[in-house]
Symmetry: C2
Subunit: 298 residues, 2 copies
């Protein structure tokens, strides 16, 4: 399952094939369990082999506990998803943050590159890093926070409290804020992009500034990790023709290698597919701890 800020997707998957699926507004654990029951029934399964959960981070990788993710509704923020689902469905439950999980989806079912960076470009900006076919988790599983790399130390305030994070410069919420300042009225990132596509020079300028920040991030990620590919997902990929050339134009002079940008072929299912393969890519230590959080009977 993929627990997003507004919607949750649940599916029964067998070797990457979706047998049954449901999607509903993210509210509380109750809806999750109902959704799981429904897809199990539809798939004709008594019980899942394992449940993989992608959730808006941060997630404590040892317990699978959500650490009060700001982007989830209050009813979900402190929910003991792993413990509860494991007790109810009697199978191991693995939980990880959604951007890393999306990278796993891309690794298993998308471009299948061995060295790539996955970037969710949406209201916020998240990321997952794969090096040599392995997920980069970080010391406690918090790696991949591409959106919170500080690109301009004196830049605009980010939701995380810092200044000049990539997310504040190029994320949807940051862009909407910049647009309000520029146009003197509330305007969403989507509306701004549409205006830019129609050739509005002020909108184009704001979009270009966002693409410059994203380009700088892409370039420095290339120098650090030498990925063969950058894979993008999230709402902004709907305006790829407008954005990709501008990101590349900004990034090229800042990196010494060839940059390849692509959109995930998996669309909104990337996180769901990744969640289904999480058992395979979670580090063995965390996997054992998460699966062992409830001693299942028998």
């Amino acid at each position: 399952m993929d627990i997003g800020g507004t919607r949750t997707r649940v599916a029964a998957l067998e070797q990457g094939q979706i047998k049954a699926r449901r999607s509903f507004p993210t509210q509380s654990l109750v809806e999750l369990k109902v959704g799981l029951d429904q897809v199990l029934q539809e798939a004709g399964w008594a019980k899942p082999q394992a449940i993989g959960v992608a959730a808006a981070g941060p997630v404590d990788m040892r317990s699978g506990q959500l650490l009060n993710p700001p982007n989830l509704p209050p009813g979900m923020r402190t929910a003991s998803v792993g413990t509860e689902l494991q007790a109810t469905f009697g199978c191991p439950v693995y939980v990880a943050n959604d951007a890393t999980t999306a990278a796993i989806g891309e690794l298993e079912y998308g471009h299948k590159a061995q060295d790539f960076v996955y970037i969710t470009w949406s209201t916020g900006i998240g990321g997952g890093i794969v090096c040599g076919g392995r997920v980069v988790w970080g010391a406690t599983g918090q790696a991949g926070e591409i959106g919170h790399m500080v690109i301009r130390p004196r830049g605009p305030r980010c939701g995380c409290g810092k200044r000049g994070c990539l997310e504040a410069l190029a994320g949807g919420a940051g862009l909407a804020k910049a647009a309000r300042r520029r146009f003197g009225q509330a305007i969403s990132a989507r509306e701004l992009v549409t205006l830019a596509q129609k050739g509005n020079p002020q909108a184009l300028e704001l979009v270009k500034t966002a693409c410059q920040a994203m380009g700088q991030a892409v370039a420095l990620l290339w120098e650090l990790l030498e990925p063969e590919l950058f894979v993008f997902g999230g709402g902004f990929t709907g305006s790829w023709d407008l954005l990709a050339p501008r990101v590349l134009e900004a990034a090229r002079p800042l990196a010494r290698g060839s940059l390849r940008l692509a959109v995930t072929p998996l669309g909104d299912d990337v996180g769901l597919l990744g969640a289904s393969a999480l058992w395979k890519h979670i580090s063995p230590d965390w996997g054992a701890l998460q699966a062992g959080r409830v001693r299942t009977p028998g």
Copy 2:
């Protein structure tokens, strides 16, 4: 062996213990072979099991060929180190860039953290990344170029041709350039740091600016990779008491986690020790290609 811009170190190592060692100015392949012969004789070995070579990059990881590294003297730049040593000494020879090799040294014999970033802070700035106990090589082995992350797109010109790279802002050569502009006379990075230690306000300001760039890099590396530790090597670690607090002060507001900086306990031997363990950490594909570059008789 560790082929540096000015000196080359050669040693006979057995399980991380140095049996014999030599150090001489980097010139050409001739001196390398003589040095190897000497340490072999002193160690009482007929032939090494394997030779690991750390060299100023870039290195073609499939062939182990040096790709004209700008920091090596002309006689070494295009030398076929791998092929020549393999033919002469009849054992597999593995070649990799010196910053990555230093990270391997640190992983095997230093702090032994499983998730860390190694940073060589010297005339130039290099890096090696270890995630989950594994070296991050990148698609073709060029990852870890921390010095060439662009921190300030309109900053000073870097030796690589780009502007505002970390190396141009905080490396010894960049710092010397900035000092010449400020003081109106040639002054080395070492002299500048000594002046700063004595409390010269202009020197302190230049050092602070360099530390700010390093701090910004450290912070964004933390957000990306969540290392448990940043390990520093190179000449600047000789002034650690001056630099470390300033780097931390700059980094802390830009990262959301706790940052630990340390100096490698291995000193100038970190690359040499890493080279001796390169066979273990080179990706199997490249290792096989490099070891297979000359069919050794028998």
